[in-house]
Amino acid sequence: MIRAATTPHPRLGVVKLASCDGCQLTLLNLEDELLAIAERLDIVEFPEATSHRSNGPYDVVLVEGSVSTPEQLEQIHEVRREAKLLVTIGACATAGGIQALRNFADHDAFRAAVYAHPEYIESLATAQPVADYVKVDAELRGCPINAAQLVELVTALLTGRRPNLPDEAVCAACKRAGRVCVMVAQGIPCLGPVTMTGCGALCPGYSRGCYGCFGPREQANVSSLSRQFISLGRSPQEAGRLFAGFTGYAEPYRDAIVELGGLPGASLAGERAHRAMGAGVNAEGKS
């Protein structure tokens, strides 16, 4: 649960792990609110934007990116110790992100395929969501996060109320926006029914199916939806690739991918991948 900030100027940190910086850029993209937020929150750590540095303590820390190197593993524990509230932002931090698709494959082989000198590259066997390692108090989904949800989170923090971050399907927002279902009316596969809302049902508004960047919603019925994809004429492999996007490592998308035959580029190294995938995916219980 997000509680009222106790200090008059809560100390905010923005921390990055393996990511593309797009989620933290969303904070800088709040052109209308940025300066007002900076007046109310003391931004003590945000290397992309300021040369002031701080190792904590933080009242709130926003964590972008997945844990994929030994240093990041150390870093996330340290950040957790220093933070009253730890909020993960974006698909990388909440679900492992696109780079977590490598978890479906054998890491050494992967590293060797990408780098001429794999021995120079330090990375963990898997890229994992933050909640696999430390307690997460709240999360903002999306690749990238949605600006309005970020403002909602900050406002809730400052006013002490519950952030209004519904866990319903993308469809709910899509229909409120008056969009026509792309799957029913055009036969385009869409992950909307199993994906958590928050983006404003962007993709169906651009005549394409949702690609699931906000990750699975509660009780996502992926098997029913994949059966429907196949009856729309997609091969199992194609259907599997639809789930293998920016949150493909999150349950139950992960299961759907494996069930539909695994990932093409990453031959599934059975045992090992499964062991690595054992951990829970995200902190659903935000309260």
């Binding site: 797009g22 300066l35 994929s68 696109i98 590259i121 651009y206 005549s207």
Partner: protein, 436 residues
């Protein structure tokens, strides 16, 4: 920042360069007033994109590679689309092409305004961040944010959102806007044009540290338009290869202690990409409004010689793209179809586009179903890295006499003038050594 002073040896070490996209470390060793080693280490975690796209369909690759960098996703999408369209020989409708320039213009305006105002200006004005700068000069920062917002609005209209837009696909777009939707952006853009002029006048008053050196500028070059995603790859010293032929003039290598691959010319030399390179190599193709403005501030020579003046080149490009965006909107007629259909086939091709930081080059090989067999992605920062290190080596002696903190800040400022995007520079596969 840490300092180790010895009589003969002095080292500057910046652990985690701030106000850049991603994470990097700067390390410089100085012996008796001579720089013995300059290293920009990139410790951004590897994300293995070139392997992640193997087996994926072209439209998926467009969305996946965008995630290499949240600051310039359009660049990744356009370069990838260009490579696939080259393999499948897709003809792009001229209006669709114009919309792609418009989308890209949005990214330039956003990315450059971010860099000029929020990341780089604080260096010139002596602040730790734009937030500190805003305490004294709120109007300046607000102007930067207003420009940024217009860039974002363009991307949001054409692509649904500004970070990782969702509209681009091989052959065109999933969805194109109506004319009225574009026209609604006109007033904000017209206002941005004025603010872009003001930006240029503002940065022209900045004091750049004195530092001049000759440099090899590499950019795209198009006969009729300011270089963006078409033309040839050229340099100011005679390199001239097709847009798909990057490998005919350049190569990548991996160095210890960094997760990024470096690029060099085939003969092993460094080069510079980005706004200064484009403004120098293609000054004649700038929009007349931007050309006039350049004449007014008169910094063309400085841009060509002093890397710190890249801030002026960036401001100039903001102006150029505001002007070009207005023209595209005025001439827009919705295309008959949002995208041209294509048939998958086996093949291989490279394509590049001018990301705000310089040429971003992709190369893909596909199988008969059009799925990716192998990929190579060469981002601008890994190409600039050699030149950044060379500049650091050349510039460092000039700051050695300064107080350590100040000297370090100057060195950081130099790195920042390349707007290095470290997220971009980390992930890349050297195909020539070990294939997938």
């Amino acid at each position: 920042m840490t300092t180790e002073s010895a009589t003969f040896e002095r080292s500057f070490h910046v652990e985690g360069i701030t106000r850049v996209e991603g994470e990097g470390t700067l390390h410089l060793t100085v012996h008796d007033g001579q720089v013995s080693d300059a290293r920009l280490k990139i410790f951004e975690a590897p994300r293995y994109f070139e392997q992640l796209v193997v087996g994926r369909a072209p439209d998926e690759v467009i969305d996946i590679t965008a995630r290499i960098c949240g600051i310039c996703p359009v660049a990744y999408q356009i370069s990838a689309a260009g490579a696939f369209e080259s393999i499948f020989e897709v003809q792009i409708d001229p209006q669709v092409r114009a919309l792609r320039r418009l989308l890209y213009a949005g990214e330039y305006i956003e990315s450059h305004a971010l860099h000029v105002y929020l990341l780089h200006a604080p260096d010139f004005l002596g602040y730790a961040s734009a937030i500190d700068l805003a305490k004294d000069h709120r109007a300046v920062v607000e102007q930067g944010l207003a420009l940024k917002k217009v860039g974002n609005a363009l991307m949001a209209l054409l692509g649904g959102r500004s970070v990782h837009p969702v509209s681009l696909r091989v052959g065109g777009f999933y969805h194109v806007p109506r004319r009225a939707e574009l026209e609604a952006l006109r007033p904000a853009l017209a206002n941005a044009l004025t603010q872009a002029q003001a930006t240029l006048d503002l940065v022209a008053q900045f004091q750049a540290p004195p530092f001049e050196r000759p440099v090899r500028f590499v950019s795209l070059k198009h006969p009729a338009e300011y270089p963006l995603f078409d033309g040839r790859i050229v340099s100011n010293d005679g390199i001239d290869v097709g847009i798909g032929e990057w490998r005919a003039a350049f190569r990548e290598e991996q160095h210890e202690g960094t997760n990024a691959l470096h690029a060099r010319t085939l003969s092993g030399e460094t080069y510079q990409l980005g706004p200064s390179a484009r403004v120098t190599n293609a000054a004649d193709q700038l929009h007349p409004i931007a050309r006039e403005a350049l004449a007014r501030i008169g910094l063309q020579e400085e841009i060509a010689r002093n890397p710190f003046w890249s801030i002026a080149a960036r401001a100039l490009e903001i102006l150029h793209y505001c002007a070009e965006a207005l023209e595209i909107i005025d001439a827009y007629l919705p295309p008959a179809a949002p995208f041209a259909p294509w048939t998958p086939r086996a093949g291989a091709a490279g394509w590049g586009s001018e990301a705000p930081r310089g040429i971003l080059w992709h190369h893909y090989e596909t199988d008969e179903q059009g799925l990716v067999r192998s990929a190579q992605i060469v981002p601008p920062t890994s190409q600039n890295q050699g030149q950044i290190e060379a500049d650091l080596r050349a510039f460092a002696p000039a700051v050695l006499s300064l107080e350590h903190g100040e000297a370090t800040r100057r060195l950081e400022q130099l790195v920042r003038s390349y707007d290095p995007c470290i997220s971009c520079a980390t992930h890349f596969l050297d195909l020539t050594v070990e294939g997938a």
